[in-house]
Symmetry: C2
Subunit: 246 residues, 2 copies
DNA sequence: CGCTCCACTGAACGCTTGTTCAGGATGCTA
DNA sequence: TAGCATCCTGAACAAGCGTTCAGTGGAGCG
């Protein structure tokens, strides 16, 4: 899968740093990284200037790893491709690193998300074109929302999962977590993605009304779900009783 | 709103700690807290034993604050109640504290989530009973999933939002963020909650088939969405091409 | 008054952090 | 062989952290 191994000391330090960060988070000390890499502390700063420089090198390398891995994998959404990757043992570390990256925030996290958003944009457009997915009133926003929801919920679940029982986060613990995550949230998510949760379109109508895009809403809703009667046959009342908006 | 103010020095330290943690995260130093409270460092440990003790006192106090605030607010889902609370200026700090708590993980985060899950369970059951929400195959799992998705996506959005432009997180920045969050993700979320994303039920059927709950699935799906023909009239093919599962 | 209890301070301790630097070791080049 | 650049080490540095503790000051009380 990976190209010719980079066996320079610099690469060994970088890889050790990636694994340590994946295991223990961005706050891991350079001394731990040095020990894991089997080098002295000074050498790290000799090669990377500072801890920040090391982090940037790790970010860039992992992002590149993800890119090439995704280029090789045929298709699949953001989280699906991550889950698929984690099954391949050698990719558990970069996946965990990505989650740590999102956990820590910063520009690297923003770049990572942006990448997966533009990725989602593509396969959502494909899905809509092939009739697998319903169209949206705002495809751009939907791509971003689905990506943030997917990663955000996984990240929070991971934070809660990591909470009890040691902060160490070994690769096998990651696959444990993913199995746990899919077992717990798989059905409700597929259900949500298939049926939604609202019985009627009242909330959406009210939202479109409130934000002044009522007209495009009706037409788009009718186009999206032809089984819905275009009149007022939906359930009555309760326009402001939405559980998500008020 | 709040009961009689607690003006003891111990309470002043606790409140200063809550605000500092809300602003700068759990990693804030006790010296910063001491300075913000206008006391010496030693006094904090005199009252709370250690930084961990201070954190527990803060966690408990904020949780209690949230509880009483929710008891006063009539209804609303988890995130909605948070958003509504943040509008009241005095509750911006505990809300931000909760997000920092979830960000940091640990048992306090788990307790917070558990609380909101059991909260969601109630209003979801109410919604199903009143016909506003569709029933689910697993109401318990759905309550947990919706809660984790709601908070997780908000938390990730916040992490990305906080990334650029200072780590300080003032109360007005929180309301800025919430406005930004709702403006960006409001429509796609309502859309998702209304229509889902899948055009057909193939993915759900395939998932139920794969997990061996096919029979309860068909009946429940038919009950949930009476417009769907119970036969095989849905779009053909592509049973394994789900963008979320593979 | 003297005693005790309590809130409270400020300096210090031990520890870990990221960073720096003089110097040893190695290998290539003139 | 001499010179030089590079890789690399280990000790030291300053700064920050949470924690500890001797000691001050004032209020309540016998």
């Amino acid at each position: 899968m990976a190209a010719e191994q980079d066996v320079t000391t610099r690469a060994r330090i970088r890889d050790a740093a990636i694994e340590q960060i994946a295991r223990r988070g961005y706050s891991v000390s350079v001394r731990s990284i040095a020990q894991a890499a089997g080098v002295s502390v000074g050498l790290i700063n000799h090669h990377f200037g500072s801890k920040e420089g090391l982090r940037e090198a790790c970010d860039g390398h992992v992002l590149e790893l993800i890119l090439t891995a995704k280029r090789e994998s045929v298709a699949g959404g953001a989280l699906a491709s991550l889950a698929a990757m984690s099954r391949i043992e050698e990719y558990a570390v970069p996946v965990a690193y990505c989650l740590r990256c999102l956990q820590a925030g910063g520009s690297a996290a923003a770049r990572l998300i942006d990448h997966f958003v533009s990725d989602a944009r593509v396969w959502i457009a494909d899905g809509v074109a092939s009739g697998l997915l319903k169209p949206s009133l705002d495809e751009e926003a939907r791509a971003r929302t689905l990506t943030v929801m997917g990663f955000g919920s996984a990240l929070l679940a991971l934070t809660l999962y990591t909470a009890d029982g040691g902060d160490e986060f070994s690769p096998e613990r990651l696959s444990d977590f993913l199995n746990h995550y899919i077992a717990e949230h798989g059905l409700p998510m597929v259900e949500l993605y298939t049926h939604g949760v609202y019985a009627g379109t009242d909330t959406l109508d009210a939202y479109l009304e409130a934000t002044g895009r009522a007209d495009q809403g009706r037409t788009a809703a009718a186009a999206a779900d032809p089984t819905t009667s275009p009149g007022g046959a939906s359930t009555a009342g309760a326009t402001a009783a939405s559980p998500q908006e008020d």
